[in-house]
Point group: C2
Chain length 429, copies 2
C-alpha cells in the first residue's frame, strides 16, 4: 500500500509513489494520454494517465471519467513546470469511484439558479476560496480574543425578552408558551463579565428581516464581546485591532484564495487608529452625497453607502443621538442627547461591520431609559439586577462576521459568502 | 497613573505599585485593617487596607465595602505566604465604585433558586471554574480540528427538512411559511465535504425535548465533523483523539479550576484506543445490570447508565441495528441488519458523548433506505444529489459539548455547565 496524501502535501512527496483521492475538476484526453485535474479540498493537482503506464482497466476508467466524478489515482509525484502548481501525478493506477452525469451548474448561470443548487455550486473554485477565507476569519477571531484575555462563552438562542425591538424577532412556539430567537448575546454577556471579566461569543443571531438588500440575512454569525471596566474608547481599540488582526491573518495565509477570486487584498491593509467621525460629520457627508437626513435619524443603508463610498479605510461613526439607539447605551455625560455608541463602517459602500459602545452602569439612569423607551422593567428584571449588585463601567460590541467576510472577499452579495444562506425567500437547500 | 493589571498578572509585578479592578469576594476588618479578597475574572487576590496607608476617605470606603461591591484598589504587590495564592496587594488607595446590598444567592440554596438567579450565581467560584473549563474545551476542539486539517464551516439553523425525526423539532413561523430549527448540521456538512474534504462546525442545535433527565437541554452546543474518504473506523479514531486532546488540554491548563471544583482530573486521563463494544455485547451488559432490552431496541438513558456505571474509560458501542437508527447510516456489508454507526459513551453513568458513523454513499441504497423509512424523497432531493454527482465514501460524527463538559467537571446536572441553560420549563434569565 502506498500512502494516501492530500494535494497540498504533494510538493513534499516529490519522487514518491502516493495515492490521491478527489474529484475530477477538468479532464481531456488524446493520443493515449489523459490529463485529469483533480481537486480534494486542499488544492488541485494535474494527473497524467498514460496508456500502458496504468493497467488497461484503469486507462479505460480514465478515458471515461467525467468532470465531478470521484476518483482514486495512484502515481508518482513529479515536478512539472507546465502543470498548475508546478507538480503533477504520473499515474500508475486509476480508479473511478463514482461517475458523475453532466454537472448541472456552472459559472454564468443566474444567481437564483446557483442558490437553488448551492449544495453542488459549493464545489466551484470561487466558493471553495470564499469558504476557506471564511474559515480563516473565524479562526483569527478566536485567536485575537484569546490573545487579549477574553474568555469564550455562550448565550442562549432562546430568549424571553427582546434586545433590539420586537419587529424583527422570530417567535418560536415553545411547549405551552413561546420564546424568541436571539438577535444578540449582549445582555447575557453583560451578566457574564461579572464572573469572567472579559468575554466573547461566536454564534448565530436571527433577524426576521424583510429587506432584500445585498447585506441582510435572517440568520447571521455574530461575534460579540463585552468587558468590565472598558470605556467606549477601549472597546473601539479592541474592535479595530480585531479587524486588523483578521485582515492581516487572511492576507498572509490566504494568498492562493485571493488569487482565485481575482482580489488583491490591498483593500484590507488597514492602518490603526481608524478615523473617528461624529454622527454630525457623517450627516454632513451624507448630505453632500445627496442623502438628506435630519438630526436624530439613524444612518440607514443608503446613508452608510453614501458616506463609505469614497473611503479607503474602515472608520467609526460616534456620538449617535440617544433617540436613534437602544435603551442600554450610556448617554454621553458631556452631551446627554447623544450616547456613547458607535458603528464601524467598511469602506467602498460595504457599510456596518461592528456596532458597540459603553453600556449604562448606573441603576437610576437605566431605569429612566427603560421608562423613556416605554419598556416593561419586569422584562428586564435580571438585567437591571446587574446594576444593583456591584455595577461596573463596561462596554461591548457585536461584529457581523458574514459582513466582514463579504468586505474582505469583495463579494457583491452577502449570500455569496455563507455556505447555505437564509433570507426571507430562501430556506433551501 | 499606575498600571491597571489583572489578578493573574500580580506575581510578575512583585514590588510594583499597580491598580486592581474587581469585586469583593470576602471582606473582614478589625484593628485598623481591612482584608478584602478581590476577584476580577482572572483570579482572586487579597488586598490589605491599613488605616493611614490609604487616604481617610479610602479607608472609610474599605470599612463599608460589602461582598460583591465593585472596587478599584491601588497598592503594591507583595509576596505573602499566608495569602491565598501567595501574593497580596498592600493598598495605597481604595475606591468603592458601586456598593452591593446583601447578595441574594449563596451555596446551599435550592437548585431552582440558583437557576432563577443564574445571572448572579454565575459569580460563584464554582461556576466561574466550570465556565473556564468550558471555554478551554471549546478552544481545544477548534485546536484539534485545525491540527487535523478539518476546515471550520457553518450550517444553517433554519432547515426545511428534518434530520432525525419530527417529534423533537421546534417549528418556527417564517414569514408566510414555517421552518424547523436544526438538530444537526450533518446533511449540510455532507455537502460541504465535496468542496472542502474535511469540515467541522461548532454551533447550537435544538431539540424540543420533553424529558427531564439530568442530561437534556432544548438547546445544546454541538461540534460536528464530516470527512470524505473516511471509514467508520477512521472517524472513531478522530473522535477518540479529539476527546483525548480536549481532556489532556484541560487537565494541563485548568488545574486551578479543578481544584476549586474539588475534582481530581484523573477520570479524564484516557488511554487510546478506547474499547469497542458491539451492540450485542452492550445488550448483554445491560441485561446483567438489570436493564432488559430486546435486539433492535435503541440503547436508552437507563441502558446507557447501566452499561457505563462500572466503566473507567469512555468506550464505543458499534453495530447498532439498522431499524434503531436514522436512514442515512451505511448498512454493514457483512451484517446488513446492522449499520456502521456508533456511540461513544462516557463512563460512570455519564453516557453518550458522540454519535457517528459512515454514511450511505450509493444512490440506490440511499433511495431504498428513504423508502423503508417512509420518508418523502422530495424532502431530501439535494441530499440525494450528493450521491448522484461523484459520490464518495464518507463518515462523520456529532459531539455534545455540554455533555463532555459535564463529564469532565463531574457535574451532576447538565444545567450546571451551561451559562444560561434552557429546558422545557426554563427560558429565563
Amino acid at each position: 500500500m502506498v500512502d494516501v496524501i492530500r494535494v497540498k502535501d504533494a510538493p513534499s512527496r516529490r519522487g514518491q509513489e502516493c495515492t490521491i483521492q478527489g474529484w475530477i475538476y477538468r479532464i481531456r484526453s488524446g493520443g493515449g494520454i489523459v490529463f485529469a485535474i483533480v481537486r480534494d479540498g486542499t488544492g488541485i493537482l494535474q494527473a497524467t494517465v498514460r496508456k500502458g503506464a496504468v493497467p488497461p482497466q484503469g486507462f479505460q476508467e480514465a478515458i471515461g471519467a467525467t468532470p465531478e466524478s470521484s476518483v482514486i489515482i495512484r502515481g508518482v509525484i513529479a515536478e512539472d513546470k507546465r502543470a498548475l502548481g508546478g507538480y503533477e501525478l504520473r499515474a500508475t493506477d486509476f480508479h473511478l469511484v463514482s461517475s458523475s452525469p453532466p454537472f448541472p451548474v456552472r459559472k454564468g448561470q443566474s444567481a437564483s439558479m446557483l442558490l437553488d443548487n448551492r449544495h453542488l455550486w459549493l464545489r466551484s473554485r470561487e466558493l471553495n476560496a470564499i469558504l476557506k477565507i471564511r474559515a480563516a476569519v473565524f479562526g483569527s477571531i478566536h485567536e485575537y480574543f484569546d490573545l487579549e484575555g477574553f474568555i469564550e462563552t455562550q448565550a442562549p438562542s432562546f430568549v424571553s425578552g427582546a434586545c433590539e425591538g420586537g419587529a424583527t424577532l422570530f417567535k418560536v412556539p415553545y411547549f405551552s408558551t413561546s420564546v424568541y430567537l436571539t438577535q444578540s448575546a449582549q445582555l447575557y454577556l453583560e451578566a457574564l463579565i461579572t464572573t469572567l471579566g472579559r468575554v466573547y461569543t461566536v454564534a448565530p443571531s436571527f433577524r426576521a428581516e424583510r429587506s432584500r438588500t445585498r447585506r441582510h440575512l435572517t440568520e447571521f454569525w455574530h461575534a460579540e464581546a463585552e468587558a468590565a471596566w472598558y470605556s467606549e474608547e477601549d472597546m473601539m481599540t479592541t474592535e479595530e485591532q480585531l479587524v486588523k488582526h483578521v485582515c492581516d491573518t487572511v492576507s498572509a495565509h490566504n494568498e492562493g484564495e485571493f488569487g482565485i477570486l481575482g482580489v488583491a487584498p490591498q483593500h484590507i491593509a488597514i492602518e490603526l487608529p481608524l478615523e473617528r467621525v461624529t454622527y454630525e460629520e457623517a450627516l454632513e457627508k451624507a448630505g453632500r452625497a445627496g442623502v438628506e437626513l435630519r438630526w436624530g435619524d439613524d444612518l440607514d443603508y443608503r446613508a452608510e453607502r453614501a458616506i463609505t463610498a469614497q473611503a479607503e479605510q474602515p472608520f467609526f461613526v460616534t456620538h449617535y443621538p440617544k433617540k436613534a439607539k437602544a435603551f442600554y447605551h450610556r448617554p454621553d455625560p458631556r452631551r446627554p442627547e447623544t450616547v456613547l455608541c458607535h458603528d464601524l463602517l467598511a469602506p467602498q459602500g460595504y457599510g456596518e461591520l461592528t456596532t458597540g459602545g459603553e453600556r449604562i452602569a448606573r441603576l437610576d439612569v437605566l431605569m429612566q431609559r427603560i421608562e423613556e423607551a416605554k419598556l416593561d422593567p419586569k422584562d428586564y428584571d435580571w438585567y437591571i439586577d446587574l446594576r444593583r449588585y456591584g455595577s461596573v463601567p463596561h462596554a461591548g460590541f457585536g461584529l457581523g462576521i458574514d459582513r466582514l467576510v463579504k468586505w474582505i472577499t469583495r463579494a457583491e452579495h452577502i449570500q455569496q459568502v455563507v455556505p447555505f444562506p437564509r433570507t426571507m425567500r430562501r430556506m433551501r437547500p
